[in-house]
Symmetry: C2
Subunit: 302 residues, 2 copies
């Protein structure tokens, strides 16, 4: 993690008691809070069980990207873990308030968090946290990725919904441990694989693979997060007349592709330069174009 230097503007915290319509009449559904003050009780279920859902939204020159898709996915994650439905309008306005209150910077990372709340209350806790984005520009030149088994088959989302495959929950300890394992192996990031031999997603990213004029990602039905970034990129490619699809791919399929990327809202477009021991071509032009899309810019200007 990049340590903020002393010239980095202060993060902004917006507390959202009205995330699920739970404020008293006349109270504000959200308010700016002091990010340096402790805000969470130790009995919040996020602190005792990692029990909550979240989204991370990129903001470029003050403009947040894909707010609607991110909030709809938050609602879907909440449904999968049986949290109350979040009020997406309140959250959207709270995000705007956080961005407005933050000092202007080229890139902000905005987290949208919703937990099951303090034990016994049944009332979710929610907040928005906006901070200067970490610098992931080193990811643009190409990253080394290792495949790591996630231990699950591509059928679990259908057969075993309690495993929460495809929900973006705050129980990310395994994702963090897998990332540490990648670093230990001298790599930058991870591509999870299923027990039935297919590529899934990264711990915090979505897989995109190019072969000729066909662009492929992992089907959400395989138990991966339905990516907000991939939807934007696919829309751009379709406008260009390219073919896009969801299909299961093996590591050999990815390693033999024309190019491949890991996409995320904060790290944006990371071209895979090496998958396990196989080097891949980095498509600099396409990377710039995808980067522009993920920043909410016109890809033609890239």
């Amino acid at each position: 993690m990049t340590q903020p230097d002393c010239t980095t503007p202060s993060p902004v915290l917006v507390w959202v008691p009205g995330v699920a319509g739970t404020v008293a009449d006349g109270s504000e559904p959200f308010r700016i809070a002091d990010a340096d003050d402790p805000q969470l009780l130790v009995t919040d279920l996020v602190a005792t069980r990692g029990d909550g859902v979240f989204e991370t939204i990129g903001v470029f020159d003050g403009a947040p990207v894909n707010v609607g898709p991110h909030l709809r996915r938050l609602g879907r994650s909440a449904q999968l873990v049986e949290l109350p439905s979040p009020d997406l309008d309140v959250l959207s306005r709270a995000i705007d308030a956080a961005i407005e209150a933050h000092a202007p910077v080229p890139e902000l990372t905005v987290r949208v968090m919703m937990t099951r709340g303090v034990e016994g209350t049944g009332t979710p806790t929610a907040w928005i946290h906006a901070r200067t984005a970490d610098d992931w520009s080193r990811y643009r030149a190409g990253i080394r990725v290792v495949t790591l088994d996630r231990g699950l088959s591509t059928t679990v989302a259908e057969t075993s919904p309690w495993l929460l495959a495809g929900a973006k929950t705050l129980s990310y300890a395994v994702n963090m441990a897998a990332t540490r394992e990648a670093v230990r192996r001298g790599a930058d990031d991870v591509l999870f694989t299923s027990t039935d031999g297919y590529c899934l997603e990264g711990p915090t990213s979505t897989l995109l693979v190019k072969r000729g004029d066909t662009w492929t990602t992992t089907p959400a039905s395989a138990g991966v997060l339905p990516g907000t970034s991939i939807a934007s990129v696919f829309a751009m490619l379709e406008r260009e007349g390219q073919s896009v699809r969801e299909e299961l791919m093996t590591p050999a399929d990815v390693a033999s592709a024309d190019a491949a990327w890991l996409l995320s809202s904060s790290r944006l477009a990371a071209p895979i330069a090496q998958l396990d021991d196989t080097p891949l071509t980095v498509d600099t032009e396409r990377t710039a174009q995808i980067l522009a899309v993920l920043k909410g810019q016109d890809p033609q200007s890239a």
Copy 2:
């Protein structure tokens, strides 16, 4: 969850800045804090990633049970997720301070929590939280248990350590979702099974099975938590001349046993009265004896 009534004594919070030797010279490694005040920053990695480890210790008439084994297991979990080693002596004294500060009650539940700390600091956050135990006495008469697939094989602890099988982490969203699924099916609790067809453990408990004079639990190598309760019970049984062992069991093995239990430090001994559709005999005498052991009492007095 049992809602505390107005006569329930207040919980006690002990903050432990010295959990990993991180306090300045002359500062106290722990201090009593106000459990009603927010203590956690929203940027603590437990709040953003469910990234931490924990233990739950039962305290009966003021005496905590199995503190040493619990703290050693906390240290093992910390090692598995690459947290700094906790100072077990500091934690032990902090637990005593929490118990002493709490109003005397017959049963206390003490949580020992250690997170990766606030992002970018590299310093763990830790606290002890002591509160009046929930009433699980309804579990004594026998519980209905459903088997649910955990989606993983019994070999993952060995093959894929980044999946953190066997670490007691704060990423418990799946455990909570499985418990909700059990309730939805009209049951009380869950027995997780592996993809290769064996019984593992409950979301917050360890399996114990009796067949004649032989008592069996799941091997820790299958990716389950090494139970502190089972160790106490096995020690009691061995003193009695019974045979104890770790061995993989199928659901059919459990359903055809003389008796079976789910053990935990807070719910104690819960006899399985029904596993999926199969009724099991509840061994009332043995349940009382196991209960006594788990309360740190002489089992002969049960």
